[in-house]
């Protein structure tokens, strides 16, 4: 087969760029909220983000050939011509994009949470992070049971919270960059 001299290099460049942005943001949040070291946070953010990207790629590569022709045409239109709407196909595109965004967000959240948990466990840092608080005096326990305690948030909830926050930060930043890119291109061409 003859191959056209067309390589997905821009995709590679943008993927690396977005990855760097996501790592910078997420490592910062991990370091601040989970009190991990600088190098450790960067490492966790790098590996979990890479894992999320790989899952996304596998999903795309498996699902794309199964798509009906209209959706395949949409995908081609976006990949090769940077356009989302083909032949006035608007409402469905909106709904599908929304659905994909939602799935992507919670999928990456799950992967990142499990990945960082795995890494913390293998670094023996998981226990101190989620250990039960020391046994409290009786009146304080009663206060907790009544729901009036201040420190009700368990460490686990704090962990989940951190991951969601990091994920949301990187998603927003990348979305912003994509919008900015589209805007700049709209100005330029």
């Amino acid at each position: 087969m003859e191959y056209e001299p067309i390589l997905p290099l821009r995709m590679v460049v943008f993927q690396i760029l977005f990855l760097l942005v996501a790592i910078a943001l997420e490592a910062g949040i991990l370091r601040q909220r989970l009190r991990l070291g600088f190098q450790t946070s960067v490492q966790y953010a790098l590996v979990t983000n890479l894992a999320a990207i790989v899952f996304g790629w596998i999903a795309f590569l498996v699902l794309e050939p199964l798509m009906p022709l209209e959706i395949e045409a949409q995908i081609i239109n976006y990949v090769l011509f940077n356009q989302l709407l083909l032949n006035g196909w608007t409402t469905e595109v909106g709904a599908i994009l929304f659905g994909i965004g939602l799935i992507a967000f919670f999928g990456t959240f799950f992967i990142k949470a499990k990945g960082i948990e795995f890494f913390l466990r293998s670094d023996n840092a998981w226990q101190p992070l989620t250990k039960k608080p020391p046994r409290l005096p009786r009146d304080e326990r009663y206060a907790r049971a009544r729901g009036t305690g201040i420190e009700l948030g368990q460490s686990n909830a704090r962990f989940i919270d951190t991951i969601i926050q990091a994920n949301a930060a990187s998603f927003s930043a990348i979305l912003l960059l994509i919008l900015l890119r589209a805007f700049v291109e709209g100005q330029g061409g």
Partner: protein
């Protein structure tokens, strides 16, 4: 001079002849030996002998082991601090596993799985030691291995994505009419103003030649009837023409547009328009047009109705009947059809914001 020769000789000996028998050079020599035996066997026993395949496979295995062993002994094979020897061994292993020179599909599989196989090559010594005892690596190594695996999965995905794009371009070659400057994903290494003809020209050529085949030398009244039912006729011709395209997969992206035939002189002008409704850039939406002139011509009707093929049979039986009633009249005149669609092949016309500048017409 002699010194140099002796030096080279010594170097070669050092490289090839092992100091100990337990060395990678032994494996390399074994590999060469099995290859020679296989070649000798082939010259004697022919190509089908099973031993040849066994020996070539053995030769491959020895060779891969030799490469693996020698590279793991080399200490300075580093690029930016990363050892690259698993990727070289993985390359040789891919050659052995996939035989990529045999077909395109094998080549793709070989390139796509190269990073993964290399990761396997890198990981294997951490799981199995020289005594073939399996063990789990410690946590630090495990983390490195997982990171390497994920990075290589990403590389494989990129390669697979590249081949997916190539598949699109093979299935739908008319995508490439205007290049891919706007894409955020691909870079086009041909000149940025790529002007690759779409398949539309071939499509319209096939259609017009079929139309002129169907109509030429038909009696004029039949042609007019044909023009009256042109929608179904042309749709059938269009479908047949789509099947003859080099890449018939993209036929879903072509639509035929037939305008009302214009009167021109005594006959008609039939405008065929093939619209590309597939993916295209904003300025790259295009169509192709070709016009056929269908004219009546007066031709002397042949007296003996035996020329011509099956298509003219009905006319000739008709004419035979008229001949029997009006036998004594002079050479009768028939109104037949002539079709001329022009020689130049149609080109893409772009409908876009700056169509006036861009259109090559």
């Amino acid at each position: 001079m002699q010194d140099i020769f002796q030096d080279i000789n010594k170097q070669a000996r050092l490289l090839l002849v092992p100091k100990a028998y337990f060395a990678w050079q032994t494996l390399l020599l074994l590999s060469l030996f099995s290859l020679f035996v296989a070649a000798a066997l082939e010259s004697i026993a022919g190509n089908d002998f099973i031993g040849i395949r066994v020996l070539t496979t053995l030769s491959w295995i020895f060779f891969i082991s030799a490469v693996w062993w020698s590279l793991s002994e080399a200490k300075n094979l580093k690029v930016y601090g990363f050892r690259i020897d698993p990727w070289i061994t993985g390359f040789v292993l891919c050659l052995f596993l996939f035989h990529p020179w045999r077909s395109d599909l094998r080549l793709r599989w070989a390139i796509t799985s190269w990073p993964l196989i290399s990761t396997g090559v890198m990981a294997l010594p951490h799981f199995v030691n020289w005594e073939l005892k399996t063990s789990l690596p410690n946590d630090k190594v495990k983390k490195t291995l997982i990171t390497t695996l994920i990075v290589n999965l990403l590389l494989s995905s990129w390669i697979a994505f590249h081949f997916r794009i190539q598949d699109w371009l093979r299935d739908y070659p008319s995508l490439a009419v205007r290049g891919f400057d706007e894409s955020e994903f691909v870079h086009d290494f041909t000149a940025s103003d790529r002007q690759q003809p779409s398949q539309g020209a071939a499509l319209l050529e096939t259609m017009t030649s079929e139309i002129s085949q169907a109509l030429t030398d038909q009696p004029w009244y039949q042609t007019e009837r044909w023009l009256y039912t042109r929608q179904t006729q042309l749709e059938a011709i269009f479908q047949r023409a789509l099947e003859t395209l080099d890449s018939p997969a993209e036929s879903v992206f072509w639509r035929l547009d037939v305008a009302e035939p214009r009167r021109s002189g005594e006959g008609y002008a039939l405008d065929l328009r093939a619209n590309w409704v597939g993916p295209a850039s904003r300025e790259g939406v295009f169509y192709l047009e070709k016009s056929c002139k269908i004219l009546p011509v007066e031709k002397p009707r042949p007296r003996v109705p035996q020329t011509g093929g099956t298509q003219t049979d009905r006319t000739q039986t008709n004419s035979a009947q008229t001949n029997s009633t009006q036998a004594d009249e002079p050479q009768p005149i028939a109104r037949l059809t002539s079709v001329s669609c022009g020689e130049d092949s149609p080109t893409e016309k772009f409908i876009g914001p700056d169509a006036a500048v861009v259109s090559p017409i």
